[in-house]
Amino acid sequence: MKVKYFAWVRERIGIAEETVEPPASVRTVDDLIGWLSSRGETYAYAFETPKVIRVAIDHAHVKPDAMISGAREIAFFPPMTGG
């Protein structure tokens, strides 16, 4: 699946998007954040406070317990500040 990062999540990780293949045990958004965090210091820094991270699956907002199976694109970003 493709993952995208925005704003300070993108800056901390250092890339805007990548393709990842998490193991089958990674089933929810929460699981995915945990798995990504284990990939290195930049990821751990980006996800150091998971509760502030907002997530969208295929362009729709989802909660941390959302299942990721079938997702084409998952995005991680800080609380939004548009308008």
Binding site: K4, F6, A7, W8, A56, H59, A60, H61, A75, F77, P78, P79, M80, T81, G82, G83
Partner: protein, 155 residues
């Protein structure tokens, strides 16, 4: 009742008069247009702001605004909606966003414009980075914006 919905995300500035004219041209079913425009301030809490840079999530931003425009259409008897949101670097005094809500009467137009702005503030995937004399930093979301958006949620 027909309703024209225009949603644009763009780097270029826009002209609010032109947007209103485009929405109302040739129409005789519009009795009220409420305009909200958001403008880049030159200071925040006493600190000078040199510029804002707005980032967005292409694809999702358009889809989310469209989804809420559709919801506004079902909640109020609107005859037109326009949302234009800029991205990129914006300096103090420049436009950031405009929402136009048109209806036969003012009440629906006022409410729909407020609904869409509350939503945009808290839930549309845009992020503001602020440049000040101290450096650049991402603006933090404010709790009262989420509270303002939540009051429109149907129980």
């Amino acid at each position: 009742m027909t309703a024209a919905v225009t949603i644009r995300i763009q780097e270029a500035d826009f002209d609010i008069g032109h947007e209103i004219a485009a929405l109302t041209k040739g129409r005789t079913d519009i009795g009220a247009v409420v305009t909200f425009s958001g403008i880049c301030r030159g200071s925040e809490s006493g600190e000078a702001i040199a510029a804002l840079t707005l980032e967005h999530y292409p694809g999702m931003a358009e889809a989310e605004i469209q989804r809420h425009a559709d919801e506004a259409m079902t909640r109020w008897p609107l005859t037109g909606l326009t949302v234009v949101h800029r991205v990129g670097r914006i300096t103090p005094g420049e436009n950031i966003v405009v929402v136009l809500a048109a209806s036969q009467h003012r009440q629906a137009a006022f409410q729909a414009a407020e609904f869409l702005m509350d939503y945009l503030k808290a839930n549309a995937p845009f992020w503001k980075r602020e440049e000040s004399p101290k450096g650049a930093s991402w603006i933090e979301a404010r709790g009262h914006d989420e509270t303002a958006a939540a009051r429109w949620t149907k129980s």
